[in-house]
C-alpha cells in the first residue's frame, strides 16, 4: 500500500475531475428528467385519455428495467438504428430516460397528495381547470416533491458509477485508471473514491431529511 504515491496531486486532481463529470452528468440528467417527468406526471394526473395510459405503460416499463441495461442500450444499440451519441450524451440520455420515469412517479404522487378539496375550491372561485392546477395544486405539490427528488438525485449520483462501463471519465472510471497503474494504489483509491461519493451523497441525504422535516 502506497498512500503518498497514490494521493499525489496529479491523482487527486484526476479523481476530482472525475467527480466533476459525475456531478455534471447527474445535474444535467436530473434537470432534463424533471421536465420530462413533470409532463408525464401531469398527463397521468389529469387523466388525459389515451396519453395517460401510454405514459403509464412507458413509465412502468422503464422503471422496471436495470439502469445498466438502458446505458448499454443508448450507447450500443441506438447507433444500430442511426442514432449516434457521444459517450457523455449516451450517459445523459440513459440517466434521463430512467430518471424521468422515476421522477414522474414522484411528481404524480406529489400532485395526488393534494386534497381534492383544493381543486374544488379553486374551481368554485371561478378559476379554470388549468389555472387551478398551475396556481393552486402545483405550488403545494412542489413542496411535497422536493425531498424525494433530492433523494432521487442521491441515487442518481451513485448510479452514474455504472457509466464507467462505456468509459465515461467519471469518478469510478478515473479511480480504476489510477489503481490500474499500480497494485499499491488499489486500496488508497477505493478509500478515496468511496470517501468522495460518501461525502456528496451523505450531505445531500441530510439536506433531503431536513427539507422533509421543515415541510411537515
Amino acid at each position: 500500500m502506497d498512500f503518498t504515491g497514490a494521493y499525489s496531486w496529479v491523482n487527486i486532481r484526476f479523481l476530482l475531475d472525475g467527480l466533476l463529470v459525475t456531478l455534471e452528468i447527474a445535474a444535467i440528467s436530473i434537470i432534463l428528467s424533471f421536465i420530462i417527468g413533470a409532463i408525464l406526471g401531469l398527463v397521468r394526473y389529469m387523466k388525459v385519455p389515451v396519453l395517460s395510459f401510454l405514459a403509464g405503460a412507458i413509465v412502468d416499463i422503464i422503471r422496471n428495467l436495470p439502469l445498466l441495461l438502458i446505458i448499454f442500450f443508448t450507447y450500443f444499440a441506438l447507433p444500430q438504428i442511426g442514432i449516434r451519441l457521444s459517450i457523455f450524451w449516451s450517459a445523459v440520455a440513459a440517466m434521463t430516460i430512467f430518471e424521468s420515469a422515476m421522477l414522474s412517479e414522484i411528481i404524480r404522487g406529489g400532485l395526488n397528495s393534494i386534497p381534492v378539496g383544493q381543486m374544488e375550491a379553486g374551481r368554485s372561485t371561478g378559476l379554470t381547470y388549468a389555472q387551478t392546477i398551475w396556481y393552486i395544486i402545483i405550488p403545494q405539490a412542489l413542496r411535497a416533491m422536493v425531498p424525494p427528488i433530492v433523494s432521487q438525485f442521491v441515487a442518481l449520483v451513485k448510479d452514474t458509477s455504472l457509466a464507467t462501463i462505456i468509459t465515461l471519465p467519471e469518478l469510478t472510471h478515473n479511480a480504476r485508471i489510477v489503481y490500474g497503474q499500480d497494485t499499491n494504489f488499489v486500496i488508497p483509491m477505493f478509500i478515496a473514491m468511496g470517501f468522495l461519493y460518501w461525502v456528496v451523497c451523505y450531505t445531500l441525504s441530510k439536506l433531503s431529511k431536513r427539507l422533509e422535516t421543515s415541510n411537515a
Binding site: L68, L69, W198
Partner: protein, 215 residues
C-alpha cells in the same frame, strides 16, 4: 430477434436463472441483516445503535458498484479469490441490507409510541414488547417498501455483468457482441427482466391497496 432467441435460449435462460438466484440469495440474507440492523438502530443500547447507524449511513451513500468492485478486486488481495457471481452477491447483500434496515427502522418508528408504553406498563420487557407488540404492527407498514426493495434488488443484480457475474445482463452483453445485433438483443434482455419485475410491481401495488383498505 427470433434467431437470437432460438440460437441463444440456453444462455439467456442460464443468465435469467442466475439473476434470480443472485437476487433471492441476496434478498434472504439482507432481510435478516437488515432487520437486525433496523431493530438495532432504534435500540436503547447506544453502542449497538451507533454501530448499526454507522453501517447504514456508510452503505446507503456509496454506489453499489464500488462495493461489488471492492469484493472483486480488493478482497482477493488479502483473502481467497472470489468469482464475479459471489462478489456480486456479497455486494448486493451488503448494499441492500442498509436499505432494508432503513425500511425496518421507519416501520418500527411508524408504530405509535403509546404501543411501547402500553406494552411496558403491562409488565412486558422491552424485548417482549418489541417482539409481540411493535414488530407485528411494523410488518404491515414495511411490506410494500420491502417489495420495492426486492424489485430494486433484481434490477441492481445487473451490476454482476460488470464483474463477469454470469447474470442475464452479462450474457446479454455477450450475445450482443457475438451477433452484432445489439438492438434486438437488449430488447430481449429487457423482456426477461420485465418478466420478473413487472408482475412484482403490480403485486406490490395490489398489496399496498389492500393494506390501505384494511386500515
Amino acid at each position: 430477434m427470433i434467431e437470437i432467441l432460438t440460437n441463444y435460449n440456453d444462455v439467456l435462460i442460464e443468465g435469467f436463472i442466475n439473476t434470480l438466484i443472485a437476487s433471492l440469495i441476496a434478498l434472504v440474507i439482507s432481510l435478516i441483516i437488515g432487520t437486525l440492523l433496523g431493530i438495532s438502530q432504534v435500540s436503547t443500547n447506544k453502542l449497538l445503535a451507533g454501530i448499526a447507524n454507522f453501517y447504514v449511513q456508510l452503505f446507503l451513500n456509496i454506489p453499489l458498484l464500488i462495493i461489488v468492485l471492492f469484493f472483486y478486486v480488493v478482497f482477493p488481495m488479502f483473502f481467497v479469490g472470489v468469482n464475479g457471481f459471489t462478489a456480486g452477491i456479497i455486494g448486493l447483500t451488503i448494499y441492500t441490507s442498509a436499505f432494508i434496515a432503513e425500511t425496518v427502522r421507519a416501520g418500527i418508528l411508524g408504530v405509535p409510541n403509546g404501543q411501547m408504553e402500553a406494552g411496558l406498563s403491562t409488565g412486558l420487557t422491552y424485548g417482549d414488547t418489541m417482539r409481540y407488540i411493535i414488530l407485528p404492527q411494523a410488518i404491515k407498514i414495511v411490506i410494500p417498501p420491502l417489495g420495492n426493495q426486492f424489485i430494486n434488488l433484481v434490477k441492481n443484480s445487473s451490476v454482476l455483468a460488470m464483474v463477469a457475474g454470469l447474470d442475464l445482463m452479462y450474457y446479454g452483453d455477450l450475445i450482443a457482441s457475438e451477433t452484432f445485433n445489439t438492438f434486438d438483443t437488449y430488447i430481449i434482455v429487457a423482456l426477461f427482466y420485465l418478466i420478473i419485475t413487472l408482475p412484482l410491481t403490480y403485486l406490490m401495488q395490489y398489496v399496498e391497496r389492500r393494506l390501505a383498505a384494511n386500515d
